[in-house]
């Protein structure tokens, strides 16, 4: 039989390089133990799904608390004696103050028009003969003031103006919402941490089993002069593959779950006249999920391969 015929038995070129060999071995292992690999990937996917959902939802939750707080304002009702010109000038003056993002002056006439438009008893005002409503300045504090809880101090400083009769604001519900969102983020973060650790342990345990399967191959490789890195590289690749595929499964589960809860969440949001919307995950969010899952896989593989590779190395230094 010819040498040429033997050469034709060679596999694809990429599988004979060191990296290609490691990748081919990793894929071969996943393929050989299809069912076990599938179960592992599902376990990883389900375990990582909640952290992934939290990541996808984090920007929406952040938006919810930010938008709610940014929409908040104080209303300074002016004395009856303050003219529209003075009121508008005061509004402009306040707008340039530190801690105030914007202001809007509402004249007495505008206030009356709004009252007529939005109130069922608008016609009753006409019976009074004169406009009873004061002019007002809507003050939008900047977000730093709102978050730092110094709105009261701002309100107090506005009250000191002689033109102001009364300042009204109510941020309690926003504070409650912020507290709930913070709690959700904290509890979710802790859960995500525990589940991520679980995923890490699943990968480490799977790799440990894989190592025991590959032990004879590693011993042969060691006898033939393979370095520890050569022997460990396929294991690292398997860890990375488990991480990557686990991340893909988790992302798919998270997207499906998001689609399922999007409509009820939107309905709830519209009840509160909120602009909160659960949006589709962005490519960068999916990229983060996949990168973190690959890193998890590699860390899991490293943690499980430390001892066996050490044992193989020590075999050379021990007695018979």
């Amino acid at each position: 039989m010819s040498t040429e015929q033997a050469a034709n038995a060679a596999g694809p070129r990429w599988t004979y390089g060191k990296r290609g060999y490691a990748l081919a071995q990793s894929l071969r292992q996943l393929k050989r133990h299809k069912f076990a690999s599938l179960i592992t990937l599902l376990v990883l996917g389900i375990t990582l799904a909640l952290p992934v959902m939290l990541l996808f939802a984090s920007s929406a939750l952040q938006q919810l608390s930010s938008r709610s707080i940014e929409g908040e304002s104080l209303t300074a009702y002016l004395q009856d004696s303050v003219s529209d010109l003075d009121g508008a000038a005061l509004s402009i003056e306040w707008a340039s103050r530190e801690g105030i993002r914007d202001t809007r002056y509402i004249s007495r006439d505008e206030a009356l028009a709004l009252f007529r438009e939005n109130s069922d008893i608008g016609a009753a005002v006409d019976a009074l003969g004169a406009n009873p409503l004061p002019g007002a300045i809507i003050v939008f504090p900047d977000s730093n003031v709102l978050r730092a809880g110094t709105v009261e101090a701002l309100a107090a400083s506005l009250r000191q103006s002689e033109a102001v009769e009364r300042v009204q604001f109510d941020l309690r519900w926003v504070r409650r919402l912020q507290a709930v969102v913070s709690l959700i983020q904290l509890v979710g973060g802790l859960l995500a941490l525990f589940l991520t650790l679980t995923a890490l342990l699943v990968i480490a345990n799977t790799i440990r089993l894989e190592l025991s399967r590959r032990r004879s191959e590693m011993e042969v490789a060691s006898l033939l002069g393979a370095s520890s890195f050569f022997m460990n590289r396929p294991i690292l690749y398997i860890g990375a593959l488990y991480g990557l595929l686990g991340g893909v499964v988790a992302s798919i589960i998270a997207v499906i779950a998001f689609n399922a809860i999007r409509q009820p969440a939107d309905d709830l949001s519209s009840l509160y006249e909120s602009t909160f919307r659960l949006s589709h995950p962005t490519p960068s969010q999916i990229g983060i999920v996949l990168a973190v899952s690959i890193a998890l896989g590699i860390v899991g593989a490293l943690s499980s391969m430390y001892r066996p590779s050490q044992q193989l190395t020590q075999r050379g230094s021990n007695g018979k």
Binding site: M1, S2, T3, E4, Q5, A6, A7, N8, A9, A10, G11, R13, Y16, G17, K18, Y21, R28, R32, S216, E217, E219, V220, A221, S222, L223, L224, G225, A226, S227, F230, T313, R315, G316, S317, N318, G319, K320
Partner: protein, 238 residues
């Protein structure tokens, strides 16, 4: 050249696999390593392959003193040797071709070199037509040939064989022995561990005789083979 200087290997306190072993083997020689089971043959080979470290003494292979060898240099040292085992240690999940190609992948050879070298090695052991087969479906003799092809595919200058004919019948053993002789004839130093008396009687090469870890027979040429004798003057094994 392989030099052992007062080498001992103690595997438990007071229990020696090898004790105060000293000898010199010339480059290009063919030497039998003989002794009963447990005499220390495998330990000696493992020391040469740096799979074990001696408790005392020094080993030199070519110009490398093992006492000065760093652990990270050991894989590279092993890549320059061919090792054949009694149980051949083939990987059952890949083809004959890929088994033989394994040391070349480890050594970082290029694809075309791998194809050429593996084909040549398989051709040399008469298994070119089995390249696509799984080794498990082949006979014991064929499996041992694959092991030999794998050991020589990187063209080492030193070939270590640990009872390579131990599981084979006499005819196949003689064929395997012929292969080793061919490699020796091409300049490869061969250290061949066996306790097969018929093989020792048939092929009269110099012997290292071990008994309970001690060297009882220094390398002596009963009737050195022409190939071995011709190269003993040149000392350039590595």
């Amino acid at each position: 050249m392989i030099v052992f200087e007062h080498v001992s290997l103690e595997y438990l306190p007071g229990r020696f696999a090898l004790q105060d072993v000293s000898f010199t083997l010339n480059a290009g020689s063919f030497t039998f390593l003989t002794g009963h089971s447990g005499a220390g043959k495998s330990s000696l080979l493992r020391l040469v392959a740096r799979l074990e470290r001696p408790t005392s003494g020094d080993i030199q292979v070519g110009n490398i003193h093992y006492n000065q060898l760093r652990p990270r240099q050991e894989p590279a040292l092993r890549q320059q040797m061919g090792i054949v085992f009694q149980d051949n240690q083939l990987l059952p999940d890949r083809s004959v071709f890929d088994n033989v190609a394994f040391p070349l992948i480890i050594g970082g050879y290029r694809y075309n070199d791998i194809k050429t070298r593996v084909s040549a090695a398989l051709n040399r052991v008469g298994l070119a037509d089995k390249a696509l087969e799984n080794p498990q479906v082949l006979s014991g003799g064929e499996q041992q040939r694959i092991g030999i092809a794998r050991a020589v595919v990187a063209r080492p200058k030193l070939l270590l064989a640990d009872e390579p004919t131990g599981n084979l019948d006499p005819d196949i053993s003689a064929e395997i022995m012929q292969l080793f002789m061919q490699f020796n004839a091409s300049g490869v130093t061969v250290l061949f561990a066996t306790h097969d008396q018929s093989l020792l009687d048939t092929f009269r090469y110099p012997r290292l005789q071990l008994h309970q870890g001690k060297l009882t027979g220094a390398p002596q040429e009963d009737s050195p083979a022409p190939a071995a004798r011709g190269r003993q003057k040149s000392d350039h094994a590595r």
